[in-house]
């Protein structure tokens, strides 16, 4: 296939960026999207030009590093996948593809297609954990049985890879889906209950402090989430928040 790529180039956070066009031929449909970019980069390096940088590591859809806005959609046109799992067979010969970084005030651009998502870490640090000592003296794991249904729901919420597609998809750049997934995981487990009030209040506060927008229930996040994190988590977080606010 032959493609016209329009790629956001920005040398660093302080410099303005712009879209630059590149043509690429001999793209095989079996390549992943990132392998297609590898081929482009090889060509740029061969011409002594600077390659396009993008975040990536596992290339298996699990680390959450890759983060491209492709033709206006986080992780591109396929459903339920990350950019590294997107394959070129989803595109046609002659297509023009616009590639940009995930855009949000809370995700400043570092270079080209790489953004700084450390705001997510800080939300987690505000309470996304269970306070247990790593002393080796914890009780037997089967001492508290967990209803399979709850365990499965907690697992589903826990599968969020922290990629930020939900933020990039949202017209308000809200981080509700991400935050609610974490809140839900612990809210559903007996071990996490004791700190639930403090957890939800602190995490929501941090989310606001980081400059993420409000949730207006548009649902774009759920549609673009590669892990199928459900809007139910937002509803659960809102319930937790409400009761925490009443208590607190």
């Amino acid at each position: 296939m032959k493609l016209l790529l329009k790629i956001w180039r920005q040398p660093n956070a302080a410099t303005k960026g712009k879209l630059i066009g590149y043509t690429l031929s001999d793209v095989s449909p079996d390549m992943s999207f990132l392998e297609m970019l590898d081929v482009l980069n090889q060509q740029l390096i061969d011409k002594n030009e600077e390659p396009v940088v993008f975040d990536h590591d596992c290339r298996e859809g699990i680390c959450g590093a890759c983060s491209l806005q492709i033709n206006g959609r986080p992780h591109g046109p396929d459903f339920g996948v990350t950019t590294c799992q997107l394959h070129m067979r989803k595109f046609k010969d002659g297509d023009t593809i616009v590639i940009e970084p995930f855009r949000a005030k809370a995700f400043p651009v570092i270079k080209d297609l790489i953004v700084d998502r450390s705001a997510f870490d800080r939300i987690q640090q505000a309470g996304g954990y269970i306070s247990v000592n790593t002393s080796g003296n914890t009780q037997d794991a089967n001492a508290i049985p967990v209803n399979k249904h709850d365990a499965d729901d907690a697992f589903d919420a826990a599968t969020c890879i922290g990629c930020g597609a939900c933020v990039a998809a949202c017209k308000n750049a809200s981080a509700m889906l991400f935050t609610s997934a974490k809140v839900s995981q612990f809210a559903l487990l007996p071990q996490g209950k004791i700190e639930a009030t403090r957890r939800v209040l602190n995490m929501v506060q941090q989310m606001d402090d980081e400059g993420f927008g409000n949730c207006t229930n548009t649902g774009a996040c759920e549609v673009e989430c590669p892990k199928g994190i459900s809007l139910e988590n937002i509803a659960r977080m809102n319930r937790e928040y409400l009761s925490a606010s009443v208590e607190g």
């Binding site: 390096i45 590093a65 394959h87 987690q124 954990y129 790593t134 826990a158």
Partner: protein, 665 residues
């Protein structure tokens, strides 16, 4: 220099307890006076950082990703072993110990493996308390499955995403300490050297990958949890950034590198599809619980399948060769990885491979779908002879167990594995070699510790499935935090370690010289060009099967390639900015040295064991031939050039286990 493994005296079962009881402790108030650097935030480094911080030490943690949560451990799929005997199938600490030593082909240290088995049950308790959502059964109890090389069900899992859940567990433990100010986290930082002062590791030189700034960080001890070096093969199941740099730099500063050639080749990966390929994708070994592995019995059929003229489903049962079940009736499809990988290669080399390149075998779920479907129909009181109903019910069961893996396969290969068998082939997966450490997980450099995949210790020549996660967390949560106290108890009066001494100056200069040399080289080939070439030499001549002649060639070729790299590599961009090519170049430079030592180690080891198969040493049936005179750890000392490294041997004694021929028949 003699290697002292510091294995405590006394009976095997009491060694760890006795050792812990005698270890010097650091008073909590004094821990505040001590800094520890932890490089790496995967399962090993992350759990160590969290635990050390909780104990009260000041921890500085480093990773090259943008967040600890993205460390390569996140990708582990299948599960984590623990001797809980929840299933009542006869599991015990001894049995886990026994399986691990045997699975490692009697090339691991007894005392370490016993300790690993001993603390394994605790890991599960710890993770559950942290909110790790392991699979549960309907009674609310934890569920288990089985992995290659064992006959009990001791593997705990969270669908096909166990590593993710375990890592998020230790990441959350880290977050708690970051919030308390006990861990300072340095994301997007790469360690480029370790600094030794008066014979003790006292700090590191790191590069801020965003600004390019070179930084000095000091501490009373340095812990490396920097993962494995499988990417020396270019293509592997490892994440793209996984590299050997931290361990290699430590090696160049005196730490011995043990068993570099012990590589695990995983039998169930998606085969290579073309030259553009950047990495290989693992399909969890747990699939072998239900999938049957086969190739056509007749050469004609194999050829027709390769050409796309015959569908696998058209080949009748009697014309299929379920070669693992045929050769190893006791373990069948669940033989250990080295055995399964070799058997697949043997069939493909003989001409029975099933994809276009002839390098793939089938992993077939049709029988499992029927079996589970019948069972479900029976449970639900439905017609067990209604084939389409049974198929549907069976597919649902398979979907619940492996759904995400099947989906991943379909995305990559564009074929539906519910309808047609998967194609799989072995790929480089895990490296059992690494920095030599003693029982305390300290390298032979004082104050320099190494944990997780980066060390050599617990797996011997072959790692059984679900035991790397176990080792990483055992090291980080339950072993290192104790043993390091013994060492640090001498440092309570030392005070802050300065960074303005000649040792830091020299290390920093070395690092900046290296970076400048690379940037100013202005050659004509990209870093990947060299990495791919190195990978090809490694796979062809130092891969699944090796012989003396090929290894000697490999050593020469790698040397020549290294020279070419330094003359002709081209790195665009500058030093003081985000420059991925520069970061890659430093890693590949180290791979080019390690690769040579790797081949040298493979050459000297004139035996086949575990993942290391020397063609000259095999039984008449083509099984690996281990030789008793090689029952030692090969620990290499750097002397300025990989080809001149000096071999030190740590003899391995088995007092509690009888060394037997490893048979899975």
């Amino acid at each position: 220099m003699a290697l002292d493994s510091k294995i405590p005296a006394g009976p095997l079962e009491d060694k760890w307890t006795n050792h812990k009881n005698k270890i010097n402790l650091v008073n909590p108030a004094n821990k505040r006076l001590i800094d520890v650097i932890v490089v790496g935030t995967g399962l090993a480094g992350g759990s160590a950082a969290a635990t050390l911080a909780e104990l009260g030490y000041n921890v500085k943690a480093f990773c090259f990703q943008d967040s600890p949560r993205r460390a390569h451990s996140i990708a582990a799929q299948g599960g984590i072993n623990a001797a809980k005997n929840y299933q009542g199938d006869g599991d015990s600490v001894y049995r886990l110990f026994y399986d691990t030593v045997k699975g490692g082909d009697y090339r691991s240290r007894e005392a370490n493996v016993y300790r690993l088995a001993e603390v394994s049950a605790n890991i599960i308790d710890q993770c559950v308390a942290q909110g790790v959502p392991f699979a549960r059964d309907y009674g609310g109890l934890l569920d288990n499955r089985s992995f290659g090389g064992v006959l009990v069900s001791r593997t705990f899992y969270a669908k096909g995403q166990t590593g993710q859940q375990l890592l998020l567990g230790c990441y959350s433990a880290m977050n708690r300490q970051i919030a308390r100010g006990k861990i300072t986290m340095y994301n997007r930082h790469e360690m480029l050297d370790v600094v030794i002062v008066d014979g003790k590791a006292r700090g590191i030189i790191a590069r801020d990958l965003v600004t390019g700034k070179i930084e000095r960080h000091s501490a009373h001890a340095v812990v490396l949890g920097t993962g494995g070096y499988g990417n020396v093969f270019y293509l592997s199941t490892n994440a793209m950034g996984s590299n050997v740099t931290a361990a290699w730099k430590a090696h160049k500063r005196g730490a011995f590198f043990a068993n570099p050639c012990y590589t695990q080749i995983h039998p169930t990966c998606i085969p290579v599809s073309g030259d553009h390929q950047s990495k290989l994708t693992l399909m969890s070994e747990s699939l072998r619980n239900d999938g049957r592995i086969w190739v056509p019995k007749n050469m004609d059929d194999a050829e027709a399948v390769r050409k796309g003229k015959l569908k696998p489903t058209d080949i009748p049962e009697e014309n299929r060769d379920y070669y693992l079940e045929r050769r190893y009736p006791a373990f069948g499809n669940l033989v250990p990885r080295d055995v399964a990988s070799r058997a697949a290669k043997e069939r493909c080399d003989a001409g029975y491979g099933v994809n276009a390149t002839g390098e793939a075998v089938f992993l077939d779920f049709a029988a499992a779908i029927q079996r589970y479907g019948k069972e479900q129909a029976h449970i639900k009181g439905l017609d067990e002879n209604d084939r389409s109903l049974v198929t549907k019910l069976g597919k649902d069961v398979i979907k619940a167990k492996y759904g995400n893996l099947f989906q991943m396969y379909e995305k990559i290969v564009d074929q539906n594995p519910y309808e047609t068998p998967m194609m799989i082939y072995p790929a480089v997966h895990y490296t059992m070699g690494g920095l030599w450490v003693d029982y305390n997980l300290m390298t032979n450099v004082k104050g320099l510790y190494c944990i997780g995949e980066a060390n050599f210790s617990d797996h011997g020549a072959n790692r059984l499935g679900a035991s790397a996660l176990m080792q990483g967390l055992a090291d980080g949560y339950f072993v290192l935090p104790y043993t390091i106290g013994d060492y640090l108890s001498n440092d309570i009066r030392t005070g802050k370690i300065p960074t303005d001494n000649p040792e830091f100056d020299a290390a920093e200069k070395q690092v900046t010289d290296l970076l400048e040399k690379l940037i100013n080289n202005k050659g004509k080939n990209s870093v990947d060009h060299y990495h791919k070439k190195l990978g090809k030499i490694m796979w062809d001549k130092v891969g699944m099967a090796r012989n003396a002649e090929g290894l000697k060639e490999a050593i020469k070729e790698i040397k020549a390639l290294r020279e070419e790299f330094w003359n002709d590599v081209y790195i665009p961009g500058g030093e003081n900015e985000y420059n991925e090519e520069l970061a890659k170049a430093t890693r590949v430079a180290d791979f080019l040295e390690l690769g040579e030592l790797f081949a040298k180690d493979a050459l000297h080891r004139e035996e086949s064991c575990g993942g290391h198969f020397r063609e000259e040493y095999q039984t008449p049936e083509g099984e690996a031939l281990r030789r008793p005179e090689f029952q030692y750890v090969a620990a290499w000392e750097y002397t300025g050039d990989p080809s001149e490294e000096i071999l030190h041997k740590e003899d391995l004694e088995y007092k509690n286990i009888e060394v037997k021929e490893r048979s899975y028949k």
